[in-house]
Structure formats: C-alpha cells, structure tokens
Symmetry: C2
Subunit: 122 residues, 2 copies
C-alpha cells in the first residue's frame, strides 16, 4: 500500500475505534511508538508490535471513549499526520478529559514503522 | 528556546503572516525544507536558509492571502506540528484555492532544522 492508502486506512479504522485491526494490518513488527510522556515516568518510547499491543490493550481497558473526532489524513512522501480529538473518561480516576493530539506516522514498504504522538499545547 | 517556545513563536508569527521574521529568528541556516510536490517537477527538498528564503519570497510575491487559520501547535520532544488552512488566490492564474496542510517541524538547539509540509488528502 502507498503512504496515502495506509493513512486513509488508519483514519477509517480509528474512526470506528478499531485500534486492534489497525495494529494487526498496518503496523510493522518493529514499530517504534513514541508518546509525549508517560504517567509513571517510564520511557516514552515503545519498540516492537507486542509493546504497542500492550499500550492499545491498556487504553481500551482503562478508557471509556465518549466521542472521537479523527481529522485528516495529511500526506506527503513517507509521512502522514492524523489529528485526534477524543472525549474520554479514565475508568479508574473517573476523570473526564478532552484530549487533542496529532499522530505523526512514518511508512516503509507499506507498513507503519514509526508513530509519534504530539499533544496540543495552545 | 525549547521546542514548545519555538512552536508557539511559529504560530504567533505565521498568524500575522510574518514569514520573514519567522525565518530570520527561528530557522537554522542548514534548514531542510520539504514540500509534498513542486509545480515544475523539480526536487521537493530545499537545503539551506537562502533557498527557503527564496520560497518565502515566491509565496509572498505570487499569492494573495485572503485569510489564514493557524491551529496548534502540537508538541512533543524535538518535534511540533502546526495546521494551516489558507484561502489564497494565485496572482498569475487568478485561481482561488483553499489550502489545508500541516507543517511537521524538527527543532535542534532552539532552531528549526527541518520542516515538512503535508497537504490534507481526505
């Protein structure tokens, strides 16, 4: 798949919260996934698809998503960007949050090999 | 300046169309600037601040900007993203266009060393 095809598929799948299907079909096994920060102070970088699967499981188990707006994609060369605006409640703390961030993705040989998440700071 | 400070300054300056001031104060002399494509089929990559200055001059000489919405920034580590929605008329062709794209910027030692522009494709 081209970068644009992968990008459009990410948008299609995340719009229906199909994070696992996205992972299984679009991600390289050696994916590098980088968060802005971690809650427990551990490394923001996760390497390998099993680690990213762990993050996805944690998210679906701990977060109740009320609504998610997925905008884009923006595409050029081997890179694409998707914007996520998510209204979510942390099931443990009961905190309701409005998250706004972009994912910056890098594609190689039709698979996502790197993703970085950047929260909105304005 | 931190990545976040550079990012906020880019947003502040581009909101008032101060592209030249952004270039003079925030860009590294060895900046690498990458467009999605070029109109004349030349390389989409420009290296060095003089080349980027040339692109900026071309833009301001050839485009009449009716309105520009600048959203973000989104920031993590050495990277930030800004979204541009610009309503513009090409002075030569008289074509009016609504451009929507993101800039993905990389910061090193307080200066922008790389920028990539990704048009919206949805």
């Amino acid at each position: 798949m081209s970068t644009e095809e992968v990008a459009k598929k990410v948008v299609e799948l995340t719009r229906k919260q199909a994070w696992k299907e996205a992972l299984d079909t679009l991600y390289d096994k050696d994916i590098v996934s980088i968060e802005a920060r971690t809650m427990d102070g551990s490394s923001p970088e996760t390497r390998g698809i099993e680690g990213v699967r762990g993050k996805t499981d944690w998210w679906t188990q701990n977060m109740q998503v009320h609504s998610a707006k997925v905008s884009g994609p923006f595409v050029a060369h081997d890179r694409f960007v998707v914007q996520y605006d998510i209204d979510v409640t942390d099931k443990n703390s009961k905190n309701r949050m409005q998250l706004s961030e972009v994912g910056v993705y890098t594609v190689k040989d039709g698979k996502i090999v790197r993703e970085e998440f950047l929260p909105r700071v304005d």
